[in-house]
């Protein structure tokens, strides 16, 4: 149960971290909260020559909300901080909820949203609500920064768009438009703690009694957190009725691509996609109404 040997670096600046990552080449691995990396190392699934710890880099843990622009979550901001941040609770309750229901207290006190995304588990709880809300991630390298939609970040289980020499530095979520609401629903065998068997993130924009458009993202039912494109198309511009919500659930179930594993069967997962999609859409609608009422 001992960790394998490695070299350890705790740079104080991002530039120093990027230099170390490039100098040490492919054997180097970035360490944020450690709750995935150190477990993989303990289990022998990852054997880095060097670990570069980000926690000591000043400012990288900042959470910053600008009402006209949006929310920036620094790479080393911990899940517990995101789950309890007043601006996130008010303006991004679906994101706060995802950070609150995953793992347990100790892991949330160590782990980060950036780490949850970079680990790229198909079941990553923070991914569906963030993708539904149009989040972007910033990655830095010695060559400079680039920003990409989170939607295009995941490439497969454990695989991301991060290139050698790059470090994710922050996550940006645009301010939710007026008359919009978002929700994240998840289910697992045990409440919380357990890895999600199915998760659904939704953000919907409304125009009176119609749904102008919606982002609907399914977790743990495909190799990556997947957008339910056909379901998004189905609800777009439609009158908001119970029948529409039912059809959206069925459509999301149909386009999900789950597998059977220790946590659930593919068949059960498909059924739960339908249930959770309906519930997430309903909650998004309720939240949109509440936000509208609060603003007027």
């Amino acid at each position: 149960m001992r960790l394998p040997r490695f070299e350890y670096f705790a740079p104080k600046t991002l530039d120093a971290a990027l230099s170390l990552l490039t100098e040490n080449g492919e054997g180097a691995h970035v360490l944020a909260g450690g709750t995935d990396v150190l477990v993989k190392m303990t289990l022998g699934r990852l054997r880095p020559k060097a670990l570069i710890r980000l926690e000591g880099i000043q400012g990288l843990n900042e959470i910053h909300f600008e009402p006209k622009k949006g929310l920036t979550i620094g790479a080393t901001a911990r899940l517990a901080e995101v789950a309890s941040h007043p601006d996130i609770l008010t303006h991004y309750p679906a994101v706060a909820y995802a950070a609150q229901v995953m793992a347990n207290v100790q892991v949330r006190n160590m782990g980060t949203v950036a780490g949850n995304l970079c680990n790229a588990a198909p079941s990553a709880d923070t991914a569906p609500p963030l993708i539904a809300m149009g989040a972007e991630v910033t990655v830095a390298s010695l060559k400079g920064e680039r920003r990409l939609p989170l939607d295009q970040f995941f490439k497969g289980p454990g695989l991301t768009a991060i290139e050698p020499g790059e470090i994710m530095t922050s996550i940006f979520v645009p301010s939710p438009p007026p008359k919009s609401g978002a929700s994240y629903k998840r289910i697992s065998a045990r409440c919380g703690v357990d890895i999600a068997a199915v998760g659904v993130g939704v953000m919907a924009l409304f125009d009176g009694e119609a749904c102008r458009e919606a982002g609907i993202v399914l977790g743990a039912v495909a190799p990556i957190p997947m957008r339910a494109i056909k379901t998004e198309g189905l609800v777009k511009g439609q009158e908001w009725t119970q029948e529409l919500i039912e059809r959206a659930g069925d459509q999301a179930a149909q386009e999900s691509k789950p597998i059977s594993d220790v946590r659930a069967s593919a068949e059960w997962r498909k059924r739960m996609v339908a249930v959770l999609t309906r519930r997430a859409l309903e909650e998004a609608r309720e939240r949109a109404k509440k936000r509208y009422t609060a603003a007027h």
Binding site: L3, Y8, T35, Q106, C191
Partner: protein, 165 residues
């Protein structure tokens, strides 16, 4: 290469040279002889290794010892420093029969102290959520939940403030 670290444990200052691959759990148990903190699963699932780093509870099995440089660690040994008067949480664990084999106890108590410092009057549901990162293989969960609610009441009555290490 060993790294030189300075950190506090239960108020005492330590200065050590440690290999970077050693966990805080290993250093506490093997170098400092503080064996009240246990090692269960080694993967952050069971909670037996829970300690405070500054004001956060963490799994000491998933914390590199080098990463606590400059920080304050608090273990179960720091809950009742005098060795005479127990912390209200420890006292309640004994009185309600919340200790069976005892292996999960120190971790459970650290999380209980963390929970009560944020929420002095937790509901049963909140206690269970606060302790969700702990397993008791004797399955004595009901007594543990009861112990924490008894301790909460005691601490509210006496207005006892949590003293940070």
């Amino acid at each position: 290469m060993k790294h030189h670290i300075k950190f506090k444990v239960n108020g005492d200052e330590y200065s050590l040279a440690v290999d970077p691959w050693r966990t805080l759990n290993e250093v506490l148990r093997e170098d400092l002889n503080l064996t009240g903190t246990k090692l269960g699963c080694g993967t952050g699932d069971c909670g037996a290794c829970t300690v405070f780093v500054d004001d956060r509870t963490v799994s000491s099995c998933l914390t590199l010892a080098v990463s606590v440089d400059g920080k304050a660690v608090r273990t179960v040994e720091g809950l009742a420093p005098s060795g005479e008067e127990l912390h209200p949480v420890q006292d309640a664990f004994i009185k309600t029969g919340a200790i069976q084999c005892g292996f999960c106890t120190s971790g459970m108590e650290m999380s209980a102290v963390h929970l009560l410092s944020h929420n002095p009057a937790p509901t049963e549901r909140e206690i269970r959520a606060g302790l969700s990162g702990h397993l008791c293989r004797c399955t004595g969960y009901n007594q543990i939940v009861e112990a924490i609610s008894v301790a909460a009441e005691k601490m509210r009555e006496s207005g006892s403030e949590e003293v940070e290490s």
